[in-house]
């Protein structure tokens, strides 16, 4: 226990400070205020892997590390689409996931946002469309924002989430 506390003290807070001029930080600063403005509360995200190679998942996971610290910005990954404001979908959408993705979309309450992550989610990527792949996420459900990259960096994914929120009408509370 003592060593755990020592390690916590020694590590300190590694979350990168908002005032720094780096792009990535500007994104986060703006994002936080936009979330408050648009939603007035936390943004809840349901991540759906609809056929990815799992590369995008690695960078989406990184959003939760202490450096990007997505939860400190008021963004939370939730376990059910019924709790979600936004679906973060990686692709290409495999035919075998087409029904599951549609059902997940239908289970998400309106108004909802969809961000397609990665080259494959954006356009089918290297897998393209085939007997087994529907290609882009937009071929299956409506998409608000696409974040290209293979995989896109955590900063780019955050920027994509921001773009989706900026488009959306302000919710009445």
């Amino acid at each position: 226990m003592l060593r755990t506390l020592q390690q916590i003290l020694k590590t300190g807070i590694v979350t990168e400070a908002p005032p720094a001029p780096a792009n990535e930080l500007r994104v986060r600063e703006t994002l936080e205020s936009r979330i408050r403005e648009v939603l007035g509360r936390a943004l809840c995200i349901r991540e759906v892997d609809a056929g990815s190679c799992n590369g995008c998942e690695l960078e989406i996971h990184a959003l939760g590390n202490p450096v990007y610290s997505i939860e400190s910005l008021g963004i939370r990954f939730v376990a059910s689409p019924r709790h979600a404001d936004l679906l973060l979908v990686t692709g290409p959408v495999s035919r075998h996931m087409e029904v599951a993705l549609r059902r997940t979309y239908d289970a998400t309450p309106d108004p909802k946002l969809v961000v397609a992550v990665g080259d494959c989610g954006a356009c089918g990527g290297i897998f393209g469309s085939s007997y087994a792949s529907c290609g882009a996420v937009a071929n299956v459900i409506p998409v608000d924002v696409v974040v290209p990259g293979c995989p896109p960096s955590p900063t780019r994914i955050l920027a994509g989430i921001l773009a989706a929120i900026s488009q959306s009408p302000v919710r009445s509370t």
Binding site: R3, A62, S130
Partner: protein, 505 residues
């Protein structure tokens, strides 16, 4: 039976062509000699016999086996009683190629409802348009009895994970049986390969399972380099090993954090994910990408090590070595963690041996195979990797193997940096002749990644089959969970951390 022997990839390679009726005997001989089936795939040929291909290893021998299947029969003897992991591979061979084993379980495996049962994506061209209804009815094995009920989970899971379906049969909280159903992320990778130029296939190979991109791109390139007798520059193989060990470190750091978190110790996730971010940034500085999906190319690597990045990488290794040592101490003295880790999800060595468990999960259950040691390609013979083995086969053993391998990889990265040869990092690879055949074998962080590659005419790919170590280890997870409670499943599952994408293809 015809034989051809050569030495490559550090092991004695034996190429065998056997008749279908000899295949079972050969499989039994391999099993008796303590060997492992590593890969199994079918190849459809227009105007010629279709072929079943297998890769097996019985250190120090590596066996590349082809079984021509006479026209019209489309059937071969099954070997699931010899190598249990062959069962699902054989079902996949049927789904994709239409070659049927004689084994009893003939349920579809990779095919759900995207294409009809009499259509085989690797043998049919063009493919018919997909059916209207994408719902199918898979026959799960039912467990009957007083108080038994089923818990269906997935394909969409609660966390940020790949999709798959788990069917638990439970009494109270205790799991009587788990049946996995995979294939949800089948995206037609093997057919896609046949539409690509052979000199570009490494890009798709790297995306078979993104967390093992270096291993796959290397295995693909290794197969291609064999086929074209390309001599890899020494600097190129060193750079690849550097990248492969960085990939291993990144995944082990991620898993060790996630395992702490799944046992209720959020501190572990925060600390290890912080270290992983440090590593990814140092990797990007040194080699140009956080995840090195595009680094390995046929003939070498896409880019060289950035001079300033090399020093940064070395500093990062020193820092990680110190910090992981502190965290390991904390994990080891934390009684709550030990209580969750010890005795959970046990696969004892005897069962592991029977199931053919491979990779880090195999080594945590006493199965020593590590291709970096047993069939080392350059530069692993000169790096001399320390094999990390445990015998208990539980979550704790898999955590221990991860820690041990993490330290070993940190050492290997520093050694690779120190001994980095000068010279070219890439050489030209010619287009292979039609019919040329090669097999690449690389020990990824998860286990052996195999790529079988056969050239078609004019620089095309006739067949490329990537085999993920998850094929061998998914069946073991069904055994590991028996008798454990449902809430321990995420922890046990994470301790294996198997690939869905690499398996579903």
């Amino acid at each position: 039976m015809t034989r051809a022997a050569s030495t490559q990839a550090g092991a004695a390679v034996l190429q065998l062509v056997v008749e279908p009726h000899e295949w079972r005997d050969l499989a039994q001989d391999i099993a008796v000699a303590g060997g492992r089936l590593l890969a199994l795939w079918g190849t459809n040929r227009v105007g010629q016999c279709d072929t079943l291909h297998a890769v097996a290893i019985a250190p120090p021998r590596l066996l590349l086996i082809s079984v021509p299947i006479a026209d019209g029969t489309r059937q071969y003897p099954g070997v699931e009683d010899v190598f249990p992991a062959a069962s699902r591979m054989q079902r996949a061979v049927f789904d994709l190629c239409g070659l049927r084993s004689t084994d009893r379980d003939a349920r579809p495996w990779l095919r759900h409802a995207a294409w009809p049962a009499d259509v085989f994506p690797l043998a049919t061209d063009p493919m018919p348009s997909p059916p209207q209804s994408l719902i199918d009815d898979y026959q799960f094995v039912r467990v009957e009895g007083d108080g038994v009920h089923e818990i269906p989970v997935g394909p969409v899971h609660a966390g940020i994970i790949e999709p798959g379906h788990f069917r638990f049969s439970v009494v109270g909280e205790k799991v009587l049986r788990l049946e996995e159903r995979l294939g949800y992320v089948h995206k037609g990778i093997e057919r896609r390969f046949t539409q690509m130029p052979i000199l570009e296939g490494h890009r798709l190979a790297a995306r078979v399972s993104g967390d093992s991109g270096v291993a796959y791109a290397w295995a693909y390139s290794q197969a291609l380099e064999q086929m074209t007798a390309t001599a890899l520059p020494r600097r190129a193989s060193h750079l690849r090993a550097l990248a492969l060990e960085l990939e291993r470190i990144a995944n082990h750091l991620g898993d060790l954090g996630a395992l702490g978190n799944d046992a209720g110790f959020a501190f572990g996730l925060a600390q290890f994910s912080r270290l992983k971010e440090l590593l990814l940034r140092a990797t990007e500085q040194a080699l140009g990408q956080r995840y090195l999906l595009d680094l390995v190319v046929p003939g070498g690597t896409r880019n060289d090590l950035a001079p300033a990045g090399a020093a940064g990488l070395d500093e990062c290794m020193v820092q990680l070595t110190d910090e992981v040592a502190v965290l390991r101490g904390i994990y080891e003295e934390h009684t709550g963690l030990r209580d969750r880790f010890a005795g959970a999800g046990t696969v004892l060595p005897e069962l592991a041996n029977w199931l053919g468990l491979v990779g880090l999960a195999g080594r945590a259950s006493g199965q020593a195979l590590d291709l970096r040691v047993d069939a080392p390609c350059a530069p692993y013979a000169e790096l001399s990797v320390l094999r990390c083995v445990q015998q208990d086969g539980d979550v704790l053993a898999r955590v221990t193997v991860r820690f041990d391998e993490l330290f070993e990889s940190l050492r290997l990265v520093r050694q690779a940096l120190r001994t980095m040869p000068s010279g070219e990092y890439v050489t030209a690879v010619p287009v292979p002749l039609s019919g040329a055949f090669g097999v690449g074998l690389i020990e990824s962080w998860r286990g052996p990644v195999i790529v079988g590659l056969e050239a078609g005419p004019d620089g095309s790919i006739l067949r490329c089959h990537p085999q993920d170590p998850s094929w061998h280890n998914w069946p073991a997870l069904e055994h590991a969970i028996i008798g454990n409670i449902v809430p321990d499943f995420p922890l046990i599952n994470k301790s294996f951390n198997l690939s869905y994408s690499g398996h579903d293809l």
